[in-house]
């Protein structure tokens, strides 16, 4: 579903991501972890088509992002760390706008279902300025889920949320994966990633350190019982915590 071969991203002379290759299959949730400045956000932005990759090939649901960007983008949803909402559109109007862009014929019904699922049906006619951060996050999730994307990218989706909202967001992500979506999550909340991710990719200075299932990376770190946090500290080495 997500295929990445030799991805690299340069900012001038600085190499943010170097020769990164991995794949995420339907139903898999891959945690993208690494110290600050490891290239996680650059990687996610390249994968979502926000910034052009300097090199490599990215395929989203079989469509090559560079040569068929519209077809690839039709199949993906990107959720940034800060919910990006238009100040002057209500939640319902956000859904209408998104529906037209993704050509979602049954958007009205889907939108209602999503709002009910996210427990914000009564907030449909409110503007972002009238919503709490958690509610804004939910509105962004509703917009992202509306076209039933096959691929989803989450950049720090749980930051700033209360425990209840964290639990609900995690459940929603897991539900989408069970429904067949391929998901990549970038986060520093390792214990939460450990709960939801089937795979983990650790990046360090733009280079892949390890990629595999939780058990595989534990084995790689040489401790089958270690937590993801312990594995991360061991593998990310002196960069961790920077």
């Amino acid at each position: 579903m997500i295929q990445v071969e030799g991805l690299s991203k340069l900012y001038g002379d600085f190499r943010a991501v170097a020769d990164l290759s991995f794949a995420v299959r339907p139903g898999e949730i891959m945690g993208l972890v690494g110290p600050n400045g490891a290239g996680k956000t650059s990687t996610l932005r390249c994968l979502a088509g926000i910034i052009p990759a300097t090199g490599g090939v990215i395929r989203i649901a079989g469509h090559e992002l560079a040569s068929a960007p519209l077809a690839a983008k039709q199949e993906l949803a990107f959720f940034s760390d800060e919910p990006r909402l238009f100040d002057y559109l209500t939640v319902r109007q956000h859904l209408e706008f998104t529906a037209r862009l993704y050509q979602v014929a049954d958007a009205t019904e889907r939108g209602q279902t999503l709002l009910a699922e996210l427990e914000m049906a009564d907030k449909a006619d409110l503007l972002p300025g009238e919503l709490s951060r958690g509610m804004k996050q939910k509105a962004a999730l509703a917009c992202g889920f509306l076209h039933s994307p096959k691929v989803m990218f989450f950049d720090e989706p749980l930051t700033g949320l209360d425990p209840l909202a964290i639990r609900r967001t995690k459940d929603l992500i897991v539900q989408r994966a069970r429904a067949g979506a391929a998901i990549v999550i970038s986060s520093h909340l390792l214990h939460l990633l450990e709960e939801v991710c089937s795979h983990v990719l650790i990046l360090k200075r733009g280079v892949k350190v390890v990629h595999g299932t939780l058990d595989e990376i534990r084995a790689f770190a040489g401790d089958a019982t270690a937590s993801l946090e312990e594995v991360f500290i061991r593998l990310a080495g002196s960069d961790a915590g920077q």
Binding site: Y11, S42, R45, A48, G49, I50, I51, P52, P69, L70, A71, K73, Q74, L76, A77, F78, S80, R84, L85, F86, D87, Y88, L89, T90, Q93, E96, F97, A99, R100, L101, Y102, Q103, V104, A105, D106, A107, T108, D125, L126, L127, G129, E130
Partner: protein
């Protein structure tokens, strides 16, 4: 100043400068900086600080008059802006980071005030430079003296406002309401005015009305008024403050400077001595500023601190259809939705009604002339506004560029949706203006002999051109927005030589582009005119020429939108 605060300030300043210099590594900003720097050198610095050949200096008596008038202006400004208008508690402006780190730190209130006074010097100096540039064009070669003079005036004024705000806060803490303070102050002002009225009998007689045109007589009278009676006493301290600015040479400047510096030192002592609580008000002001800056960075220049209201869309957006329509729908919603469309409709209806009434009733030629001038002005202002507002709807989406770039839509569709909305709304107003202008022209039978069919044929031709012309004029500002988003976001990145240079390039580029864009349409319209002459067509050629020119212009606008779409798709959020 506290060493830690000095460290914070100097490092912040050098960091900001380094960032600005680092940005010059990118050719577009370097080019802007070169143009901006050259502009400042050629237009201001060379004249002000080096002296320009052939430009006479101001006469000495003009300096005296200026000093008196400046002292009077400063006195009025201090009274109004420091004592009468302020109605809130003292609020020194800190950044959010400063509040988070300095307020809980073991720093005395006096240290914080001293820090703010120190840091405000950069702003004061920049303002002084700006004022020197604005006011110094006539007095060549004395730029540095003027700069010093402005620095003295602005520094004392800023300190006085701060001291006054501390004093007002203390009065409020003691239970004195704003209205009571204002009443007392206005009472004092009234008393002074009364004293001046009483003195009037001894004052020199004003020059006769006919002599008002004589500059010498007027100058002498103003000097007499300000230098006799209570005037000199009232204005004495203010005259001391402004005197360095009017110094003729370096020696005179130094002579004038020390009394002004004594006043400055007294103000500094006054401000530091006050121990007034400003923290709470500062936090409130900082939060408001942060919200406004955030809104500005999002491109929302209409942001107020009042809560936003949801709006009804201008039309219902079906989930399936042409994708660019979603951006038309969104842009209309941004501009006010259905309410704005109704208002625009009402304006067009009013223009129609006025035109119909004028045609039926045939009132005076004065009214007709007024109407044609008003209509023409509306048309031109709306047309020229495109040069500055061309990227308005795109700008408010800058903050969500990362989201927009994940959407399955071509860049040109995003650009077209937004620009078309703005161009169409502008065209509606332009049509209303044209209608009024045309109807007005018809009522000018005694002044110009215009036939109704000719006037309306010409108006129709221009009306056809309005929409594509609006679109064409928006291409450059919208392109600039996508190329240099940094200086549309507000904040420090939108200032500096490079930003000035880029704005100059933009202005020049816009003029050239509009001129070039009009060449082909003019040729198209001209061809129709030639054909009309050849074939002996009636006035029908005018709307036809307009239509041909409009088509050509629309084609050019289309190419521009495609180019903007490519820029939109290549927009790299990580670079800005």
């Amino acid at each position: 100043m506290n060493p830690a605060l000095f460290f914070l300030y100097t490092r912040s300043l050098t960091g900001a400068l380094k960032q600005r210099v680092a940005r010059l590594k990118r050719p577009k900003y370097l080019f802007g900086a070169l143009i901006g720097g050259f502009y400042f050198y050629a237009y201001f610095y060379r004249f002000l600080f080096l002296g320009a050949k052939g430009t006479p200096d101001l006469p000495a008596d003009a300096g005296m008059l200026g000093e008196n008038l400046a002292a009077l202006a400063l006195c009025v400004a201090v009274l109004i802006f420091a004592w009468i208008i302020p109605g809130k508690r003292t609020a020194l402006t800190f950044s959010e980071a400063e509040i988070a780190t300095l307020f809980p730190a073991p720093l005395s209130r006096r240290e914080l005030v001293r820090y703010k006074l120190f840091t405000s010097q950069v702003g004061i100096l920049l303002f002084a430079v700006m004022m020197t540039l604005i006011t110094g064009r006539g007095a060549t070669g004395r730029g540095w003296l003027h700069l010093g003079g402005w620095w003295v005036v602005i520094s004392i004024f800023a300190l006085h406002r701060l001291g006054a705000s501390f004093a007002i806060t203390r009065l409020m803490e003691r239970g004195m309401a704003n209205w009571q303070r204002r009443s007392v102050l206005l009472g004092v002002v009234a008393l002074l005015a009364g004293a001046l009225m009483a003195w009037k009998n001894f004052a020199p007689a004003p020059p006769a009305l006919g002599a008002l045109g004589s500059e010498d007589l007027l100058t002498a009278y103003v000097d007499d008024v300000l230098l006799s009676g209570p005037g000199p006493w009232l204005l004495a301290p203010f005259r001391l403050i402004v005197r360095p600015y009017f110094a003729a040479d370096g020696i005179a400047f130094l002579h004038a400077l020390w009394p002004a510096l004594l006043i400055l030192a007294a103000h500094y002592w006054w401000v530091l001595r006050a121990d007034v609580s400003f923290e709470e008000a500062s936090i409130a002001v900082t939060q408001q500023r942060a919200a406004l800056i955030a809104a500005r960075q999002k491109g929302d220049r209409r942001m107020t601190l009042a809560p936003r209201m949801s709006k009804i869309p201008a039309f219902s957006l079906r989930p399936v259809g042409w994708k660019a329509a979603a951006f038309v729908w969104k842009a209309l919603l941004y501009s006010g939705g259905r309410r704005t469309l109704r208002l625009w409709g009402a304006i067009v209806a009013a223009a129609l009604a006025i035109s119909a009434l004028l045609t039926l009733l045939r009132p005076s030629e004065t009214l007709a002339l007024t109407l044609s001038i008003a209509g023409g002005t509306i048309f031109l202002v709306t047309l020229l506004a495109n040069l500055t507002t061309g990227g308005t709807y795109l700008r408010q989406d800058l903050v969500a560029m990362d989201l927009l770039q994940t959407l399955p839509i071509r860049g040109w569709q995003v650009v077209l949706g937004q620009l078309l909305t703005q161009a169409a709304l502008g065209a509606l107003i332009q049509w209303a203006g044209l209608l009024l202008a045309a109807t007005g022209l018809l009522g000018l039978g005694g002044i110009m002999d215009a036939r109704a069919d000719e006037v309306f044929a010409a108006a129709a031709a221009v009306a056809l051109l309005a929409l594509p012309f609006n679109l064409t004029m928006m291409i450059i500002p919208a392109g600039t927005l996508l190329l240099w988003p940094g200086w549309f976001k507000g904040g420090p990145q939108s200032a500096g030589f490079e930003a000035v240079g880029l704005r100059l390039i933009l202005m020049l580029g816009q003029l050239l582009a509009v001129g070039a864009a009009l060449l082909l349409p003019a040729l198209g319209g001209g061809a129709v005119w030639l054909a009309a002459q050849w074939l002996g067509w009636s006035i029908g050629w005018m709307p036809l020429a307009g239509a041909v020119a409009a088509l050509v212009l629309a084609g050019e606008a289309w190419l521009g939108i495609l180019a903007l779409g490519a820029l939109f798709e290549r927009f790299d959020v990580s670079e800005e």
